[in-house]
Symmetry: none
Subunit: 125 residues, 4 copies
DNA sequence: GTGGTCTAGACCACA
DNA sequence: GTGGTCTAGACCACA
């Protein structure tokens, strides 16, 4: 079950998109698995079908899911797109950090130390 | 002189706020230094005074600058807030990455490798 | 036996229509050959009879097959329609490409090079 | 001025997207040029602002334009994305033709002849 | 019942 | 005035 955080700055359709992408990237949803219908998922998490539709469209555009009129949506047979999509997003987030830290005068060494420090605090994985 | 990137996704008021915070964090602006007036800075960089005001308010909220009615704004006597502010923001960004990467099934090792790889690509600093 | 690709974007009724048209155009099905009944074909390939009906209607509209109430459907005595139908469809697709490429400022030479390049990549036939 | 064909099967938001992309790819709109505002363009061509928004979002996602809250939208400083986008679309169209023609038993030679024949009919360019 | 488009209209952030 | 999100609701193609 997906979880929507209404107080988050991330728009709802992005939250849905990201959570589905993660379920696929982690293997919780596997190639060719059926996804809930747009209307069903909208009801389940109490949001507007249009908003779900938007998430599904984005995932399809990225090749992560396949949607067919009259039949439904399912995880793309080739799920590699999900992995590259995740890498891309995380890569962007890292670049943002790098540029932000440089604007504050940090060098690579300091950023790396700060990063590993937080990584350790957050616990092993 | 501040530099505004109009094609950046970062809103202008955030760009102003961040650049001032950086100037202070790096010591380019020192405790008790006078800041340009809201109107003056707005004219200098050709943006809306409301936008500058917003940046100043945010910096004051964080204790990085002090504004006094009728006198103007100046760098806070105790500038440590500027450092902790930057650390806080970057820290949040890092935590976001950590949680995002875990939702995608990455362990610490993989994330760290990806991080350093990008760090190197972005060049030394 | 027809083959349905459920993950294709092409609607099922179009897949059926096209495959039957191809069997006729290539001579695998010959003039006056009997076609399976709508219900029979639907069962064989496990799809909705409505969907098969739709394909048959389209083929009849184009003069490629003939359906007679109470008797069934068979390949049209004059099969030339099948050839012209395919040519027509492919012709339209090519015209779409030509106009699209011109809207993007490509000249004939560039389009032709791009076309042959892809043709080669897709392998000999 | 853009032109919407309401009887076309291509959705309106795609028509807008494609026409803007073409204007950029051909150089009619140049890097950093301002685009009409979402609401303005919607009024001009008498469609709903949401529909224009959708086209703009798609173009931004592809890196062809840049949109900034409160300021407007303009052609991306680096317009190379527009060219690769066009190549991608035309490439897909060509692949569709190749597979369609093979399903009809055409070999590369026949397809190529048919293609050049139409290209010539459509006039030089 | 599926996915998908479009409109109308409210609301928010930003300049 | 900008861009952007979300909802409600009508409508269409397809199975």
């Amino acid at each position: 079950m997906l979880h929507i955080d209404y107080s988050a700055s991330l728009p709802i359709h992005k939250q849905v998109e990201e959570q589905l992408a993660s379920l696929i990237a982690t293997g919780a949803l596997r190639p060719n698995d059926w996804l809930p219908s747009v209307r069903q998922l909208a009801m389940d998490i109490s949001i507007n079908p249009n908003t779900v539709q938007r998430a599904y469209s984005a995932l399809e555009e990225k090749g992560i899911i396949v949607s067919v009129k009259g039949r439904g949506s399912f995880v793309s047979p080739d799920v590699s797109a999900a992995h590259t999509a995740a890498e891309q997003v995380i890569g962007e987030m890292i670049k943002d950090i790098v540029s932000k830290s440089r604007r504050n005068g940090w060098d690579n060494k300091r950023l790396l130390e700060f990063f590993t420090e937080i990584l350790e605090k957050e616990g092993d994985f």
